[in-house]
Each structure stands twice: as structure tokens, then as C-alpha cells.
Amino acid sequence: MKQPNEKPQGANSLMASINESGGSPKVNRRSMLVAATAAGAGVFGIGLIRNALIAKSPVFLAAGQKYDGRLVETIREGLIACGLQPELLRGKRVLLKPNMVEPRREIRHMTTHPAVVRAVAEVFQRWEAHVTVGEAPGHVRDTEMALVESGIGEALDDDRLDFADLNYEEVGWVTNSGRRSKLDGFHFPRSVLEADLIVSLPKLKTHHWVGMTASMKNLYGTLPGIKYGWPKNVLHYAGIPETVADINASLPKTIAVIDGIECMEGDGPIMGTPKQLGLIAISLQPAAVDATCARIMGLDPSRMKYLHLATTSSGQISDRRIEQRGERWQSLATPFQMLELPHLRELRAG
């Protein structure tokens, strides 16, 4: 781990090449994760312009999902459909990042359901990855309370999964690779810096400032409260859309599995009401899956600033640049209720 305040290498250098055993070629994380897709499309060695023309971001959607259903199978199939190569995850450190912003046991539509966390953990454990669940709850200092109220603590105990309290870990410095905000860089916790892969596990919700919160905004919870506060007001001052884009650009490789089974609409991300959708959404490119979820919610992703800012670094958001796998989003579209505010009305599709 880099020492705190040790300057700066950038998250990409933390994702240094992974030397595979057995004499196979040296690959970095990005190439590892997209290899199947890219190789299938025959893009290696082809010029950048051609690449840009043909490369699409795969997004997998599964409808009709239930928390007591076949989540493990769905998630495994979805990840593979998006191009993940399970054999390359053997022995790798995978950090699962659910949303536990300010959990309450009677408001389960606010935070990631424990069943989704358990299912994703099982998928990666079967692929022989070392799985840790980690979160820096944004509104509460008592992380133990957040674990209990969310139900995730009990799930972790039952499955003997490790938990990393990202609010209180030692921190290391990473240069801001996004450069959309004024922040020079970020202090990330040890578990984030040491992860080979981060899996964002958000709850799909409306957000009263930026329209929606899904896999990208969820990664605010990778930043430690001891450095950024409760709430992480530093990020608000630097601009929510800008810092969402920057954090995503600066983190180690991140993919997304979205809990869209029971969602939140109205005054999200805290005070909204439940919305049943039955969706699991997966992508190796967070912007692409967030854009697809926005379309399902009746929002236009091109009007959402954080998605627009993150397009190059975190995936495509244009519908024609996204390759749909599983269900088509058009068949799942169901407008989410939003607060009647001018800045939110502007985000509506159509």
C-alpha cells in the first residue's frame, strides 16, 4: 500500500499489470476484463478511429428478479455476458461496495439489499477471488449501526465475509485522473487501493440534486469520512457531477451490479418511496449501465451532467454505443416519480 500523503501515482498505476501464472501474457486489469469482448470483435491492432467506431459497452439486464430468487445464477450469467473472464479472477482481491448511506431496517428501499451482496460475493468466491465487502456510510459515524440496520451485517456474519470500514481505514493519495473538479486527488482507504477490482453494488434511486444515483454516485462511499466528513461535504463544494466523474476515473478498475429490484422514487436518495422494478443491471462500464438505468427511469442520460462528464473514462452513455444483453431496456421502461423541480424536469426524456 502507498503511504498516506505519498504523492501521486494515480489509480492506473495501482492497477499495475497482473502477471498471470503459467507463462500466459502479462495483462492489465482493463485488458483482462474486456478481453473477451474486444477479442471477439477483433479490435486489437486496429486503429483508434476504427476502434472508436465499433467498440460498444455491453450492459446486461435481467427482469423479474426477486431477493429470494436465483440471484447467483443471474449475476454470474450477466457478468460473463458482459465479457468478464472468471478464470482471470482467481486469487484477485475483489471489493464489493454496497450502498449503506444511512440504513434503517424499515426502509429497505434506501440501501442495497443483503441478498444482492451475498449473491455477488458467492459468484466471485466461486471464481476463487478474495472477496471483501466495504463501505464508508455517508451520513452516519456508527458503521456498526449501519451494518445492523441494513441487514448486511447479519449476512456477512452468516457467510463469514470480511467487512472493511472504509470510513476509518488508513488512507493513501491518488491523483485525480478525471480533472473535472478542482480537486487534485483523493485519499482512498487501504482496502480500495489494494483491490484488484471494485464492484459497485448500488441501490437504484432517484436523487434530488442530480436526478439519479446508481453505480457511479455510489462510489462516493469509497472515500473515508475521517478525511471528507459526514456528509462528504468536500465533494459537494467541488461539485457533485464533477466529483462523481473524477472519483470514478481515479479508482482502480470498477464494474457494476445494480440492485434495481426494489428501488426508490420521489425524494431520493433518502426520503423517497419504494418502487418495484425487479431489475438486476450489470456492466463492466459503470457509465453505460447508469445511462441504461436512467432510460428505464424515464430520464435522458445525455442531460445528466455526471454521466456526460464521465463518458470517456467510465463507459459509453449513448444508446447506440451500448450493446444490450439480456432484456431490452425499452421493455422495462417505467418512469420514476421525481420531485417537481426545474433542475429535475430538465432531465426528463422526451
Partner: protein, 302 residues
């Protein structure tokens, strides 16, 4: 009580001043250890943690997160409380030699604290609390929030500065941020016309900092009732500890809470040692004798 002694035995050593066992020392756990040891009759052992806090104190008087990370400085308030509580409990020759140094560190920390402040935000229709009141922020250059304001008020009260204008404004801010039906969260009340929900830990911290204040708002009584309703044998450690501090500050400790503390300590230890949470429980077990409760007659004179 054996569960308290077992925790104190652990936090006598610097290896236990991290947020988790085996991690590097940090200011908040070290400050809590110093307070707990001193208040439970182990002032000489508490002095070790207090001295470590002095070692990481910056030139400007602030105390950062640990030896390597010098900002933000919100843990300075806890360091002041630790220095004051150890200094007042030392005995013999060390009381003079070490006590003077602790008080000097505390004075320098206080100077920094009186300069540090949260940012005002222009009044607006979106956020209904008084955004122009100035308290303390978690991070320099951001808005005032409840826990850093409450901790700063406590630290300044421990220095005999209860009447200071910064403390008075901090108290006003805390009362302004209490929710209409009692309790508080990190520090928002009504946003976009929706009243937010209370959380136990910040409610306890704020009640603790409001000790000795006139009951000028019905929201204080409502907050006390909220905390009374919320604490119990199943409450998690730091929320329980702060909730009980808040109630003790106002003479409202519930019957049987000693057994809640012990049960919480056992659960916390079983889940993996989080020593700051355990240390907080030992402080809560002291009732009004906790160094975090600054009763008016106990405030030192600077």
C-alpha cells in the same frame, strides 16, 4: 467491573490506538483511550496516549488524523478533552511537570479551534436550517455540521470558555439543527420541504454538548425523549455510548443501562475488536463522571 478492566488493559498500549486492532495509532482512538484510562484511575497510563497526541500536534495547534495525515483537524477537540482530563487527574511530581505541558498543548489546540470555523451558506429555500450560523466543520472550507460543532463546544467548555461567543453561537447552531420532533442527524433538518430522520449517535453527542444550557427550546426535551426511546440493550456500541452520555448530561440515565453497556461490549468484541467503540462504552459507564460531560461546576479556568 471486569469488562471495563479488560478494555482498559488493552488501550494502555499504543498498538490499541488505531481504529482497528493492528492498525496505526490515530488521534480519536488515542484521545478516547487517554480519557478512559485517566477517568478510571489510570492517569499515568493515560498520559502515554496524551503525550502521543502532543507529538502529532502541528505548529498551529491542530491535531490531524495520525502521524502522517495532518488534516483535517476535527480531532483537535478530542485531543483537548484528553489533555484536560489527564492533566486534572495526574498526581505527585508528574502532575506538575507533565500537567503543565498538557495544558500548554491544550491551550495551543484551543487557539486553533477558536480560529477554525465552518463556512456560512447564503440563506435559501432549499435548506431550512439557519445556514448563516457558524460552528465547526469536519474539513476546512466546508459547512458547519453537528458533531464537529458539538465536540468543539465540549472542548471549549472544558477550557472554561462556556461564555465565549464562538461557544454561544455553536450552542445556537446545535439547537437550530434539532429536528422539529426531536433528535438530530449529521446536521440537516428540512431539505426540499421534507423533514429528515434523526440518528442516535449525533443526538447523543449534541445533548452532551448542551449540558448546562438553559432549556430554551422544546426540541431539547423532544430530543431527550427520542434518545430515551432509542437506546436499549440491542443498541450498537458508539450510538449507545453517546446516547447514554447525552441522557446522563441531563440527569436522565435510564435504569439498568449498565447491563446494556456490558452486553454491547461483548457483542462488539465478538464482531472484531473496534477499540474506540469499546473505549467509548467504558466512558459511558462513568455516567456524569465521564470526561466528556462538562458539568458547569467542573469547567476549568484558563
Amino acid at each position: 467491573m471486569s469488562w471495563i478492566s479488560a478494555i482498559l488493559d488493552q488501550v494502555e498500549h499504543s498498538e490499541a490506538w488505531g481504529f482497528r486492532a493492528g492498525t496505526a495509532p490515530s488521534a480519536e482512538p488515542a484521545a478516547l483511550a487517554a480519557m478512559a484510562l485517566a477517568a478510571h484511575g489510570r492517569a499515568d497510563e493515560g498520559l502515554l496516549a496524551a503525550r502521543w497526541l502532543m507529538q502529532i500536534q502541528a505548529q498551529d495547534g491542530s491535531v490531524g488524523l495520525n502521524e502522517r495525515v495532518s488534516s483535517p483537524g476535527w480531532m483537535t477537540s478530542l485531543a483537548i478533552l484528553a489533555w484536560e482530563s489527564v492533566a486534572v487527574r495526574l498526581a505527585g511530581e508528574v502532575a506538575k511537570s507533565a500537567g503543565d505541558k498538557l495544558r500548554e498543548a491544550s491551550r495551543r489546540g484551543t487557539d486553533w479551534l477558536l480560529i477554525a470555523s465552518g463556512e456560512r451558506v447564503e440563506a435559501n429555500a432549499v435548506i431550512q436550517h439557519d445556514t448563516t450560523l457558524v460552528g465547526w466543520s469536519w474539513v476546512d472550507g466546508t459547512h458547519s455540521w453537528l458533531e464537529p460543532t458539538a465536540l468543539a463546544v465540549l472542548a471549549l467548555k472544558s477550557r472554561g470558555l462556556s461564555g465565549h461567543e464562538r461557544v454561544r453561537e455553536g450552542v445556537k447552531l446545535m439547537i437550530n439543527r434539532l429536528l422539529p420532533d426531536g433528535g438530530c442527524n449529521y446536521g440537516n433538518t428540512v431539505v426540499l420541504e421534507n423533514t429528515l430522520r434523526p440518528h442516535l449517535q449525533p443526538s447523543g453527542v449534541v445533548l452532551t454538548a448542551l449540558v448546562g444550557e438553559e432549556n430554551v427550546s422544546e426540541r431539547i426535551e423532544k430530543t431527550l425523549r427520542y434518545v430515551e426511546r432509542s437506546v436499549g440493550v440491542e443498541t450498537t456500541a458508539s450510538s449507545l455510548a453517546w446516547g447514554l452520555h447525552g441522557l446522563a448530561s441531563h440527569g436522565r440515565l435510564p435504569n439498568g443501562c449498565e447491563s446494556w453497556l456490558e452486553a454491547s461490549a461483548k457483542r462488539t468484541a465478538k464482531r472484531g475488536a473496534s477499540l474506540p467503540r469499546l473505549t467509548l462504552l467504558t466512558l459511558a459507564a462513568l455516567g456524569t463522571e465521564s470526561p466528556l460531560i462538562i458539568l458547569p461546576q467542573q469547567r476549568s479556568v484558563t
